[in-house]
């Protein structure tokens, strides 16, 4: 129990910290890396929540895939312009106020909401269940997701492809 608490708080601090770093650091590369850290931290949270499969997906697809893509993009673009991408922020106070406003709204709503009690016991491995669900009840979204990825890829290629 206590281990959970410690772990949670650790991960929480890590997550929030790295998230802040993502949005505050002045170096684009660094913020990408911070993002990777944040995502990994999230994976840790998933582990805490006994969603190992998701944690794996998170690390591989997100922290791995996404970040690579981003870095790749940055590299490409920097080659295009030939100098370091500046990475400054605009109207920080206003942004902060707005963000805090939203946060306040969320907190106000969440606090005092009747929530489900202590987590029930879960089967050791949810992966087959997930797979089953995706292929039965959620097959339609799954199919659509396929189409989605197709068109997204098509679009991405269309945009990224050099002039034809």
């Amino acid at each position: 129990m206590t281990a959970d608490v410690v772990a949670f708080w650790g991960l929480a601090v890590l997550l929030v910290g790295s998230a802040l770093a993502v949005v505050l650091t002045r170096n684009l590369f660094h913020s990408v890396l911070w993002l990777a850290l944040a995502l990994t931290g999230t994976a840790g949270l998933f582990l805490l929540l006994e969603a190992e499969f998701l944690a794996a997906v998170q690390v591989l697809l997100y922290a791995g895939g996404v970040v690579t893509v981003v870095v790749f993009a940055i590299v490409v673009t920097e080659r295009l312009v030939g100098e370091r991408l500046s990475h400054t922020s605009r109207s920080v106070p206003l942004g902060a106020i707005t963000a805090f406003g939203l946060l306040a709204g969320l907190v106000v709503s969440i606090a005092g909401a009747p929530l489900a009690g202590p987590a029930p016991a879960m089967p050791d491995d949810l992966t087959p269940e997930l797979g089953y669900a995706v292929l039965t009840r959620h097959v339609l979204p799954f199919e659509l997701l396929g189409v989605l990825l197709l068109v997204a890829l098509l679009g991405a290629i269309y945009f990224a492809r050099p002039e034809d």
Binding site: L94, T98, G105, L106, S109
Partner: protein, 624 residues
């Protein structure tokens, strides 16, 4: 039945209407001039015959006979009717109108022989319209028809005064006449409307019955009768609404004779006569009528003394005589006023036509430019003299008896003050009329001036008597006024009041005095005119300025109407409409302002989403 007076009167009334329609619709005929004139004259003659016949039959009428048609319907019976009301008064008035109208139309054939055909056609078009309207007024069985015709004769007067519309003066005079009388008509209309609510009908007969039965509620009746009187005052040129009549002389002289002497201007008097039983209920208004009438009579007489335009003299004398009639009515003896109306109609028409003949011959209106015409145009001199004598109220002439009756009525009515004024006016009347006579027909012949000022295309060569077509009517009228005069003198009429014995001598003396003074001043030159003028200096100056009445009216028109109008017009354009423009401008600029929020920076768009989200989050929390 067709010979029944009512039917005859109806015929008399409708014939001119026929002529009018023919001339109005058949443009070629109208433009051909003379033929058009003949059509009009012919109908006028027939109308005269018909009305004479009707008058003959009047004796057989025991009580007023009427023919009625619905004019404005309403779910419970007609609201307003039109038709013919035949009784002694209306028929005799009808005869007068028909007679004068007919004579004037004949006379005009000669007087306007120089007009171009189209204009002549227009003239006779108006003439027949006038005849129709005036007869309709006379025969009106109710207030509505009376008012309708009342306005129509006003229209005709407007059209005929402005007949020579190229003359600025004429155009202005026409409009002035219309506005002034219209101001009075507003009163008349209000009076009619108010009365209608009071008694629930427009019919003279019905109202008379109620009035004599005392069924007419007296509350506010004075206001009503006063309003009616306003109308009468406007038409009959009572002070201060008399200003239009002298200017109206800009019209052709026959028109002045017909409309502004014999018939239309007396419509006001006729109205009061017609509704005397109503006015009898409101003595206070009668008092006003009496005083105003007398005052008008005197004022006009004074004004007449200082005029040099022969027609204006006659015009003022008309105003003055109308004042006489009004006073009699004010005294409560409408019959006397009516009698004077009739006689005056005859001899004043005579005077005007005579003056017309003179003007036609000399080519000017200015009496100072005339003189010694007696030898050149004896006939004219004679008939004019007849008219003058009867206007001056010399015995055996038409005017004498009626005027005496008016004086008597005034005295009997207990209006001592007005009586005195009238007596003085009588003296002045005799004076200024003979002033004209002497200056025009006797004394040294003045060099005839070139035809300027007057629109009457007069012959500038040696003046001579008018052609038969013009002199005929003159003689007829002259004879008529003699006959009436003699007739009245021999058959002494019964008057509803007793004449004081000293009245006749007084009247005769007064007029004789007037004549004498004029003779001494302008014929024998014993009394110098200048001395007289000096003696009455202030009055004279005031008179020359028309007692500033015109000035007052002009001021009112300028200030009260034009300036106010300009102000309102400005307000409408720049304030009322301005507000609108401001609003629309604001709307547009509001759009422009809002549009700035679309900065084009994507993150501001995100702000939009974020703010919206925040609001919604809080709101939904709050919805609970």
């Amino acid at each position: 039945m067709t010979s029944h007076p009512v039917v005859l009167a109806l015929w008399a009334w409708l014939l001119p209407a026929g002529a009018f329609l023919v001339l109005a619709l058949a443009a070629p005929l109208r433009r051909s001039g003379r033929p058009a004139a003949y059509v009009s004259v012919l109908t006028a003659l027939t109308a005269l015959a018909a009305s004479l016949a009707a008058w003959q039959g009047a004796a057989t009428l025991t009580e007023p006979a009427t023919l009625l048609w619905t004019w404005i319907p309403q779910h419970d019976g007609p609201l307003a009717t039109v038709g013919v009301l035949a009784d002694a008064d209306s028929l005799v008035m009808l005869v007068l109108v028909a007679l004068v109208a007919c004579l004037v139309q004949v006379y005009s054939l000669g007087y306007l022989d120089h007009e171009e055909p189209a204009a002549l056609g227009r003239y006779y078009l108006y003439q027949s319209l006038f005849a129709f309207s005036m007869m309709g007024l006379v025969l009106a069985p109710n207030f509505v028809q009376l008012f309708i015709c009342w306005e129509l004769v006003g229209l005709c007067s407007y059209l005929l005064i402005g007949f020579w519309y190229r003359k600025p003066a004429a155009a202005r005079a026409a409009v002035k006449a219309f506005w002034t009388t219209k101001a009075g008509d507003v009163g008349l209309l209000i009076g009619i409307v108010l009365l209608w609510r009071q008694v629930g009908t427009f019919e003279f007969g019905a109202i008379r019955v109620m009035a004599e039965a005392g069924a007419v509620p007296l509350a506010g009746l004075s206001l009503i009768t006063f309003c009616l009187y306003l109308g009468a005052a406007g038409k009959s040129a009572q002070f201060p609404l008399h200003v239009w009549l002298p200017d109206a002389m800009e019209g052709p002289t026959p028109v002045s004779a017909l409309i502004h002497a014999a018939t239309m201007v007396t419509a006001g008097v006729y109205l009061l006569v017609r509704t005397s039983w109503l006015f009898a209920l409101t003595p206070d208004v009668l008092l006003i009528i009496g005083w105003v009438g007398a005052g008008t009579a005197l004022m006009a007489a004074v004004l007449a003394c200082v005029q040099t335009d022969i027609k204006r003299v006659l015009a003022y004398s008309t105003v003055s005589q109308l004042g006489y009639m009004m006073t009699a009515i004010g005294a409560g003896f409408a019959a006397a006023g009516f009698l004077h109306l009739l006689t005056h109609g005859v001899f004043k028409a005579l005077l005007f036509l005579g003056a017309g003949a003179v003007i036609h011959a000399v080519g000017t209106n200015d009496i100072t430019r005339m003189g010694g015409l007696a030898r050149r145009m004896p006939q004219t001199m004679i008939v004019f003299l007849v008219g003058t004598l009867s206007l001056a109220g010399v015995p055996l002439f038409a005017g004498f008896l009626s005027k005496e009756e008016v004086l008597g009525a005034t005295w009997a009515g207990g209006l001592t003050g007005p009586f005195v004024l009238l007596v003085v006016a009588a003296f002045l009347t005799a004076f200024y009329m003979f002033r004209v006579v002497f200056l025009t027909f006797f004394g040294a012949p003045a060099t005839p001036a070139p035809a300027t000022g007057s629109g009457a295309p007069g012959a500038v060569h040696a003046p001579h008597d008018a052609p038969a077509i013009m002199s005929g009517p003159l003689w007829l009228l002259a004879a008529l006024s003699m006959v009436i005069g003699v007739l009245f003198t021999v058959t002494h009429r019964e008057t509803p009041f007793d004449m004081p014995a000293w009245l006749m001598p007084l009247a005769v003396a007064v007029s004789a005095g007037g004549i004498l003074l004029a003779w001494l001043t302008y014929q024998r030159r014993i009394v110098s005119a200048d001395a007289l003028a000096a003696a009455f200096g202030p009055i004279r100056r005031a008179a020359l300025a028309n007692f500033w009445v015109d000035a007052v009216f002009v001021a009112v028109y300028r200030v009260a109407f034009l300036s106010l109008a300009r102000f309102i017009g400005w307000v409408d354009r720049y304030i009322v409409d301005g507000v609108l423009n401001v609003l629309s401008t604001w709307t547009v600029s509001a759009g422009d302002q809002l549009r700035r929020s679309q900065t084009g920076r994507v993150q501001d768009y995100v702000y939009g989403v974020a703010l919206g989200a925040i609001v919604l989050v809080f709101w939904f929390r709050w919805l609970l």
